[in-house]
Symmetry: C2
Amino acid sequence: MSEPTFPAFQDSYSEWAGQCYGCGRMNERGLQIKSRWEGEESVCRFLPGSYHTAVPGFVYGGLIASLIDCHSTGTAAAAAYRAEGRPMGTQPELRFVTASLHVDYLRPTPIGEQLEVRGKVEEITGRKVVVATELRVGGEICARGRVVAVRAPESMKA
Amino acid sequence: MSEPTFPAFQDSYSEWAGQCYGCGRMNERGLQIKSRWEGEESVCRFLPGSYHTAVPGFVYGGLIASLIDCHSTGTAAAAAYRAEGRPMGTQPELRFVTASLHVDYLRPTPIGEQLEVRGKVEEITGRKVVVATELRVGGEICARGRVVAVRAPESMKA
């Protein structure tokens, strides 16, 4: 499936937020994931590198956790902008960080195929957004995630 | 604090288990973490790269999750060997994978200093080991983790 051409959540991040190893478009060493709405769900598709191995043939769990983490904080930001009725990237910037991350690894995730992470906003209250995710390969669910995301504290701002 | 010279858990992994991006000594692109017993706790120290950024000045959560994940599966293997009264690396190989991972991010983790992850075995029963971890920077706890590790299924073996 080809990627859509309209901007991803992460394309709207400021230079400050765009440095993240997982999702920053400005981090040349990073994963540079892209997330977009598809109806009420947010979707991120990612092809692991051949070196993202757990044991030969399978994706290592840390990459799966990283995708779920950054896709969820991106989804949280997108949902918060939507709730305020304004486009992503407008000021003040709504940037979220992870308060807690939970991943259930349901089966070994095969390497070499595109991973699809789909997120749903479970809760959005004040400075907190809860996002539930499923990670699939070829339609089969390999992992489930749940992230509690909170607005980035002022102490993280330069 | 300099690293001890005695072998780490991961130094005993087979060629099969040694490919992991997080903890395999044979993965040239990977993190190559090292874990060792210090008394009843297992310890891993890791210096993030400058590119392991969340926002400038702080470590991205996916790296923290990856360290906790691989340090915990390594601790699970070490604990399982110890429970069987035989050295790591002897046959049959006891290799663990993650059934579930939970991380609470307590405060932003500053980048540029060594991270220390300490693990305790909470439970060891049959094919399952539960490991609780704390991640510190300069003595301050920045994250807590809990991993349920299970023996790698036969389907993951080449």
